[in-house]
Amino acid sequence: MRCERAAGTAAGSRPPAGAAGPVVRVPHGWLAELLGGDLPGVERTVELLDGLGLAVETVHALPAAPRRVVIADVVEVEAIPGSEHLVRAVAGDGERRVQVVCGAPNARVGVRSALALPGAELPGAGFTVEAREMMGVASNGVLASPRELGLFDYGGGIVDFGPDAPLGAELAELWPAESVIELELTPNRGDAFSLLGVARDLGAKLGVPLRVPGADADQGDGAIDDGLRLEIEDEAACPRLTLRLIEGVRVAPSPVWLQRRLAALGLRPRNNVVDVTNFVTFELGQPTHAYDRRVLGGGVLQVRRAADGERVTLLDEEERVLVAEDLVIATPDADGGSRAVGLAGVMGGLRDSVVRDTRDVALEAAHFDPVVVRKAARRHRLSTDAHYRFERGVDPNLPPRASARAAALIAEIAGGSVHPGVSASGSDVVRPEIAFRPSRVGYLMAMEVPAEEQRASLEALGCDVEGDQDDAWRVTPPSWRFDLHIEEDLIEEVSRLHGYEHIGKTVPAMHFVPPIHDPTHRWLREAVAAMGLQETVSYVFTGPDALARAAAPAAGVALSNPQGAERSVLRTALYPALLTAAALNRDEPALALFEIGHVFLAGGEEERLGMLWRGPYARGVWRADSPLDFFVVKGVLERLAARLGADVRCRPTQAPFLHPGVAAELVWQGEAVGVAGQLHPEVAARYELDGVYLAELRLPLAEGRVRYRDFPRQPFAERDLAVVAPVDVAYARLERLVRDAAGSELESVRPFDVYQGEQVGEGGRSVALRLRFRRSDRALTDDEVDGHMRNVMSAVRDAGYDIRA
């Protein structure tokens, strides 16, 4: 499970915003190798991959190694007097010996490295090599680091290619340019997290046979004792494991070709054993891990659940405290107990690594349950190449083949011999059969794909296709295709190989008459905007502090994983965001804003209309403004109601965020739907605002029922009356008093003047009313109207109010 992570997918990092998931890098040249060279150029390959549903995110053009760099040995190293870290080194490429000054800690005699000669342009260093003198020593070249050479991101020492690199060869010949296609894979395609998987899709599309690497490698004989033993405690979580012994390896740098492959994947080469395990992970998709044989107590590898509180230090050098649900790889320790050496399917341990003097290697290839791996990775906030693969599903039948491939490669590269035995558990699984009717491709996709093409496509993808009858096939998907369950899945496979571009365009014949309604409140938005308000859209997230600042109801719904405290709860009202917008737009001479959106209360989610006004409602510009007050706000609401054929009334109310004397409950068609009023000065001060008016109404707003009524043709008669009453007697109460006393011939009452001051005394208020009387059948006489007015006046006096002459 040891996996060096690709650059850019560091532990715990999230995929780039907007990406559907982790990316996989596939070098074009490597893909071509798996297809026997039968692969079109990069551009066409990208088109093919996109068309197959393996979405190409980008293509990286990696340059060849620089010119005028040759493979050379370090043949002499000598300290330079007066310098702490610079040495005089001589590099030999078999023909010439070149003296250089070098500061790399690994510049030792015998290291086979790369010598950049004068004229070589080092892309990672940004300079051209030239002969010069340092500390009085002539330096006629550079022993370069991988970073300086632009090979991969390691600058800690000179590049080390191991003893098999051809001395004197031009590095550019060994390290040609490569195009690396970066795929953004969907979570169903765990099988495509490998070169093999991607090549298989391409081969199926192109009709080119796939060369499966290591297909004929020796998988070992379980009957032969190799001195290793497996103890698998939880076979459901680890249904398959193979452990293979390779004896007598020599740990050294990997050969150039392997370093180049890993570099193209964005990995940093380490040593020949570890590099092979990483190589096979990416080549076949099977995470593998190499243990130093000495680490395994008694040659035993255990797979068990962790003990609560058990500790293990993983490759990222962090100690982690495990819980009982975690699955670990372990080995007996000296005290007869069991010591965890890795978190199964996620990351290996630090102490079991292959080191310089490792001789015998125990190679593990296992299959782990996707959910067990996924939960462990999430619990310990790890995200690794192994875990990505396991949680999406690795081919459960792959471990023996991947193990054979890796063991053979290690023996080939690092020497040593693969033990003929193998310690293995589990057996091959066969996925359930799917009943498939080729005719359904035409039915669902409206695209004709011949049956023989369908069969060939399915088989090329690894399916086993059986069926005598024309339209009743039995298809067994390959073990690596976890995503194939039902007929529709196979229809998609056939269709994507045939090409979605062949899907036609039709319009369904359908008897469906959509209802006419306005669930998005288009009409209301237009009406409010037409009254001069600008629509805003704000976040449903807010913070407890923001709600408290606005004196809004405390949050009823909180997020468990918010983006910061100021986005940790859901809004309980629309006006706080309108206030924030008003503060933002402080420099505007006048403001009128609205928003329609959802608020989230303890009792549930509701949709609202929120409105805010500040400053004059009409600006004179070069003459006087029309000032804003409560009655302008009320007038807007009344206009809105009138347009809906509805009726809105205000009654005094109290709300924490409203001025106690300028706050109204809105009664719309008889139902309380919200409030309107002036922002409480204390709240206004927190936003450094003043003169702000608000309204907030619950949606939908009821519409009035419209019916035709005849209109009066008879003349009306009007009389005026000034009533003096205490100032706290609401106009609505006076109106009701007058209406009740005036009789049925009263058509309307309208206040036309409201006066407070000296003439009515302290605490009094005069309200001048104009009463309009009318009968529908004939004109009223003066006497009749005067009679009504006498009734009104006596009712006013009876109520204890005065009538002003």
């Binding site: 999230r14 907007g18 998931g21 068309g51 197959l52 549903g53 979405a55 969907t186 979570p187 959910v371 996924r374 949680e391 669902l444 996709m445 409206a446 695209m447 039902i486 529709e488 229809i491 998609e492 269709s495 994507r496 979605y500 571009e501 899907i503 036609g504 365009k505 039709t506 319009v507 369904p508 359908m510 469906f512 959509p514 209802p515 309604h517 669930p519 938005r525 409010v528 905007a529 009254m531 001069g532 600008q534 629509e535 805003t536 859209v537 976040y539 719904v557 997020l559 468990s560 918010p562 983006q563 859901l570 965001a577 933002l584 006048a590 403001l591 989610e605 409602y617 600006r619 070069w622």
Partner: protein
């Protein structure tokens, strides 16, 4: 005397003076009236001739007065009108210049397109349950497909919907096929916020279910939308991809001329596919097929207007909001 009277009429500089002139000559005690009264004292043979002359003078004076009155009145009107002249180049009274948010405008346009194509419009809750957002949409428990949704969970185990697709399930629970419906609305993803990614954005979802709906119907619907938005003959493209609630699944793109750069390019819009049989099973539908597609609305607002930062939509800054007026 006639000359004297006519001169007096001409000299009258306003209607009052003109009235005084009239009284002086034609009033009850006016000079002409007096002469008329004095006719009786003349011998009969002279009386006739004198009478005729006086009447001629009277008529002449009255005509002169009438003409003078009209002139004076015209001058008075002209004076008043001149005094009432306004400088029409001064600015008008500023009422609030209200308007709709750009996202509303783009959404409305899309809804116009789809209602014209016979779709119903439906909306749904933003606070959802795991069942509607995932379970009923064929997201297995503990599957990486859930990670990609970057879900905001609430402390009580609910979630902010990560797509408008829960409304597929809710709508199907309340209706019987066949139908065509679109669902606009806010959706939420807990992902890093930057110039092109917001934690809150808007989607439009379409769902069509009937006895035999095909992938070609889906392609046709996307084509119709593309034609309505970008003109007849706009090319579209489907490419295979994976969403748990459709099978086969695809992502769709529209080939358009980017109005900002003037270049022809593919605009990746959203995902689509045939409704997964498990989704139909979750709502108890049998014997039908259907398609669904969905896409982000912000993209259709950002790209054409060249808005550099998606966050501008949610800041409430009038310097941004009021730019979007008039025809879309």
């Amino acid at each position: 005397m006639l000359e004297e009277a006519l001169a007096a009429v001409e000299a009258a500089s306003n209607l009052q003076e003109l009235q005084d002139v009239r009284v002086r000559y034609l009033g009850k005690k006016g000079e002409l009236t007096r002469k008329l009264k004095a006719l009786g004292s003349l011998p009969p043979e002279e009386r006739r001739e004198a009478g005729r002359r006086i009447n001629e003078h009277k008529q002449a004076i009255e005509e002169a007065i009438q003409a003078r009155r009209e002139a004076l009145e015209r001058r008075a009107l002209e004076g008043r009108l001149a005094g009432e002249r306004v400088d029409v180049t001064l600015p008008g009274t500023r009422f609030g210049d209200g308007g709709l948010h750009l996202l509303t405008r783009v959404t409305n346009r899309l809804l116009d397109v789809f209602t014209a194509l016979g779709y119903e419009v439906a909306v749904g809750p933003e606070l959802e349950t795991d069942h509607y957002n995932f379970g009923a949409l064929n997201f297995p428990d503990e599957h990486p497909a859930r990670d990609e949704q970057d879900t905001f969970w609430t402390t009580d185990g609910r979630l902010l919907r990560t797509h408008t697709s829960p409304m597929q399930v809710r709508y199907m629970e309340d209706h019987r096929p066949p139908f065509k419906v679109v669902v606009p609305g806010k959706v939420f993803r807990n992902e890093a916020v930057d110039a092109t990614h917001e934690a809150q954005f808007h989607q439009l979802e379409a769902l069509v279910v009937g006895e035999r709906i095909t992938m070609a119907d889906l392609r046709g619907a996307i084509d119709e939308m593309a034609a309505a938005l970008f003109g007849e003959g706009t090319r579209t493209r489907l490419q295979p991809t994976f969403f748990p609630f459709v099978e086969p699944g695809a992502e769709f793109a529209i080939y358009w001329t980017n109005p900002r750069s003037g270049r022809q390019e593919w605009l990746e819009l959203g995902g689509c596919g045939m409704v997964h049989p498990n989704v139909f099973r979750a709502v108890g539908y049998q014997g039908v097929t259907g398609f669904a597609f969905g896409f982000g609305i912000e993209r259709l607002a950002l790209v054409p207007y060249g808005i550099p930062d998606i966050r501008a939509f949610y800041q409430g800054d009038l310097r941004v909001l009021r730019q979007f007026r008039g025809a879309l």
